[in-house]
């Protein structure tokens, strides 16, 4: 039976992990490769690197990070952030990334999903959707630029279009839940997951191990992503998995 996946996410800027991390015995708390290897050993099922570099040099550095990471870890990893052309995808995949995450660029140019999927296969293309509840509509709206800009696009419709265009997976972040530590947005996750035929990674709001159980059981998520609770050692990947196992959720 297919296991539910637990995915730590690392924000990387100019080749360094930003946002705090609180691991002991780290030679260098800012080295993404070293942190990736630790999460691999701790039982993470996949990793996501979000490149938040603002410069061309920073992005070039990411290719090197990807190459070093691919030689170091034995689990799949996705790279997202600032990818706006098939050529960018190619560079990162060739360096050893398993999947490419696209967000704002896909909204601006949906053909990027189609072209990426056709060139590298659907399994490589993760469409990231940042969604926020729009009370007027009574449903969720897609945001871009890290949640700053409303697009006027309905999240459910966009999720379906991304699938139709060849996305292999959706990384769904709730802007409402993100940062609250009150739990994932179960309603949003279930709404999206039940209306598409591709896997959905839930993101935003993880505060404890029980939250993961909720988003798998009620939210119908296929995977769940978190950053700070893992980085600050509030809970380990293994603790989350133990909890899930205890609740009858199938994990690796």
């Amino acid at each position: 039976m297919l296991a539910k996946r637990i995915i730590p996410c690392l924000d990387v800027k100019d080749g360094r992990v930003v946002k705090g991390v609180n691991f002991v015995n780290l030679r260098d708390a800012g080295d993404p490769v070293e942190l990736a290897a630790i999460y691999d050993r701790e039982g993470a099922d996949e990793l996501v690197f979000l490149d938040i570099s603002a410069s061309v040099e920073g992005r070039a550095t990411m290719v090197d990070v990807v190459r070093r990471t691919a030689g170091e870890i034995t689990i799949p990893f996705t790279v997202g952030g600032g990818i706006s052309a098939v050529e960018d995808m190619k560079r990162l995949l060739r360096a050893g990334a398993d999947k490419i995450g696209i967000n704002t660029a896909a909204i601006r140019n949906p053909d990027l999903i189609t072209d990426g999927s056709r060139t590298f296969g659907a399994q490589c293309i993760v469409v990231a959707i940042d969604a926020k509840f729009n009370a007027e509509w009574g449903e969720w709206e897609v945001y871009t630029h890290g949640g700053r800009n409303a697009t006027g696009i309905r999240a459910l419709a966009w999720a379906k279009e991304a699938e139709r265009r060849g996305a292999g997976e959706l990384l769904l972040t709730s802007m409402d839940a993100d940062g609250t530590k009150d739990g994932f947005d179960v309603a949003l996750t279930r709404a999206v997951s039940s209306s598409v035929g591709i896997p959905v990674i839930a993101s935003g709001g993880a505060g404890n191990a029980d939250h993961f159980a909720d988003v798998f059981a009620e939210g119908q998520a296929d995977a769940a992503l978190a950053a700070s609770i893992f980085h600050y050692k509030e809970v380990s990947v293994q603790e989350v998995k133990d909890k899930l196992r205890g609740k009858g959720v199938n994990v690796r």
Partner: protein
């Protein structure tokens, strides 16, 4: 030396790094002579079946791979590389494969999520040097098409995804894994080691 056959598709870096971590020399190459001289060969692959076969033919590596397989030295197809070992596939039209193993590659059909993506556990169907002495564990799959071997004897392991899904195949010295051993943690590395052991004569082929 293990040759990683480079026909312009897929993530060769991870496979070659994984082989090196097992203490074996890995060479990513499209040179037929070097492939034929290798102790073991890996046919990786990510992407579409038709494109992959077109590349294999255009580079002459389809013939090289068949010649290699006929030599009796160990060959391992990974993911799409496993599917290419079969006779044919229905991925975006009908395509002929390398036909080293009889069978057909078909799309997942049903009311469930495709791709089959993530960690799933193996069920061994018969003995093989590829997992002799190893307990089944979770490995990482990502695929929308799956292989249906014609001969039951070629099916070494399956996983369960709404049906039994071909996970490991093998006949003689030709093997295939639908999942990514190089992305499947320690357990995946153990399976990959079983393969590399064959290439350095550590395997007792009679089992």
């Amino acid at each position: 030396m293990i040759a990683i056959i480079d026909y312009g598709m897929g993530n060769l870096h991870s496979v070659s790094k994984a082989v090196e971590r097992l203490g074996c020399e890995a060479l990513v190459t499209s040179d037929p002579e070097r492939i034929l001289a290798a102790d073991g060969a890996i046919l990786p692959g990510v992407g579409a079946f038709g494109d992959a076969m077109a590349n294999l033919h255009a580079t002459g590596l389809a013939d090289t791979t068949k010649e290699y397989a006929a030599s009796g030295k160990p060959l391992l197809g990974i993911c799409l590389g496993m599917q290419l070992l079969f006779t044919e596939s229905e991925e975006h039209g009908e395509h002929q494969g390398l036909d080293l193993l009889p069978g057909r590659v078909v799309r997942f059909q049903g009311n469930y999520k495709v791709p089959h993506m993530g960690w799933n556990d193996l069920i061994f169907k018969q003995e093989s040097p590829l997992f002799k002495g190893v307990k089944p564990g979770h490995v990482y799959f990502v695929h929308s098409y799956h292989a249906l071997p014609e001969r039951e004897s070629d099916l070494l392991a399956v996983t369960d995804y709404h049906q039994p899904v071909t996970a490991i195949v093998g006949r003689g010295s030709v093997f295939g894994m639908q999942f990514h051993p190089e992305k499947s943690g320690e357990f995946g590395m153990t399976l990959l080691r079983k393969f590399t052991d064959m290439t350095v004569g550590k395997t007792n082929w009679t089992f």
